[in-house]
Amino acid sequence: MDVDTTSTTTTSLVDRIVVPGDVVLDLTKMENQTVRLGAGLRQDCDSISVMQAGKLRLSKPNKYWVESSQKRYIPSLEDAVLGIVVDSRSDNFLVDIKAPNLAFLPVLAFEGGTRRNIPKFETGTLIYARVVKANSIMNPELSCTDASGKAAEFGQLKNGYMFETSTGLARTLLSSPTCPVLEALGKKISFETAIGLNGRVWVNGSSPDDVILVSNAIMRSEFLSGTQQRTMVEKLMERLRGN
């Protein structure tokens, strides 16, 4: 009987941490079925293998993807991101969204945007925008309107404080039901926040103390469970209110 030393066979790798090179699906066994691949997976002749390390997820019936968390962002369509303007040209702004390429924000992509009322963004302006074009070859394109042309909270973010996180934490903060840390903070403090899926978070509150507290709580909550997050927020509040 041959001893299997080089690779182990398992029935399913769903919901397990996979590394590049792992084969997760055998397409020869799945004739006449459609399989949808998300991030981190690629087709290698008759099998689907992993490109990035992370947790393999399955959404019934046929959507597979790898959930991983990085410091850089790979642009994908309809994501809300926070960008920083680095330059302005005649027809679009060049915006940094932590992606391999700089993104273009057309000068007219605002609600009621015409050639006469072009916004003046200086270098360093923080913008909340939506990705409308994203592929690996071209620079991604952004827009400050939603699909129907309304402003819908997109545009420049004034005041407040912006910090960077990993893409995984940004996704957790945006998940529904509400992330425990945001819920716990919202019970005691009033603040507003804009979360970009590219790993940038903007927080604004009534006083600098609140802003610092909320930002620190969010930054520390990445690797904590729900109850740990709530306890952490309570301790932070006690320490600040008690002093």
């Binding site: 030393t5 080089t6 690779s7 398992t10 590394v19 090179g21 084969v23 990085q70 410091k71 391999p100």
Partner: protein, 244 residues
């Protein structure tokens, strides 16, 4: 087997030094990893993908640049050779058509050198690339094998062993994957299933000795590959894992 003399640090022929790997140490780097095998410690940092490629590179593919920083001394030919070997190894395991016209920089800093420096650097760079999320075909696992006078093989050489031995080799293999496809039984002609990525040899050795090195290297790399998989399982802010 009984005639083998003990190695200086008391290991037997097949024993590796204690391995330790920690990822995500550097705050600014997009991916970073520190890999140590005994007293050989290497810190690798990955920045990228960044826009644009260098002049001579193909813009339809992603390109890599490796910068090797020795612990002391100026950068010379040895460092350039390591950079070239590392670049070719990493280019062959990464998928180059996912982000065309980009450059990924890998900076390797030698923290301690006690033999097996190139394999340690390759392992560290691979872990750093995984930390940065660069798309890869599989992982690379590297080991050093030395050939003693009487034909026996020792693994994971220290600096003094490298200086005394007549011939040794650094071998890089792909990692052992988890797969849902039932494995085809190995045939006699293909003893090494997934092939070899890189082989650097120093000194003269007979062909049979080289194949012995490769067989031992494959077995050792399976163990290192298992350790790498376990260290990638943990996802914490500054995860460290050790194995003896």
């Amino acid at each position: 087997m009984g005639k083998m003399e003990d190695r200086i640090d008391g290991r037997n022929a097949n024993q590796l030094r204690p391995l330790a790997c920690s990822r995500n140490l550097l705050h600014r780097a997009h991916g970073s990893a520190r890999w140590s095998q005994g007293n050989t410690i290497v810190l690798a940092a990955v920045y990228g993908p960044k826009a644009g490629t260098k002049k001579g590179e193909n813009p339809e593919k992603a390109s890599f640049e490796v910068i090797w920083k020795p612990k002391t001394g100026q950068i010379g030919k040895q460092e350039r050779e390591y950079e070239m070997i590392l670049k070719r190894t990493l280019q062959s395991i990464c998928l180059l058509n996912v982000h065309p016209n980009t450059t990924t920089s890998i900076i390797v800093q030698v923290v301690g050198d006690d033999g097996s420096l190139l394999p340690c650097a390759i392992n560290a760079s691979c872990a750093a690339l995984v930390d940065a999320g660069i798309p890869m075909k599989n992982l690379a696992v590297a080991i050093s094998c030395g050939l003693m006078e009487e034909g026996s093989i020792i693994l994971d050489l220290t600096k003094s062993e490298e200086e005394k031995l007549k011939a040794f080799a650094y071998l890089v293999f792909p990692n052992s994957p988890l797969t849902v496809i039932p494995k085809v039984p190995l045939s006699k002609e293909q003893p090494i299933e997934q092939g070899i990525i890189t082989s650097v040899t120093r000194g003269a050795m007979p062909v049979s000795g080289y194949f012995d090195c490769m067989n031992r290297g494959v077995a050792a790399c399976a163990a290192i590959s298992e350790f790498l998989r376990r260290s990638l399982q943990k996802q914490s802010s500054d995860d460290t894992s050790r194995a003896a």
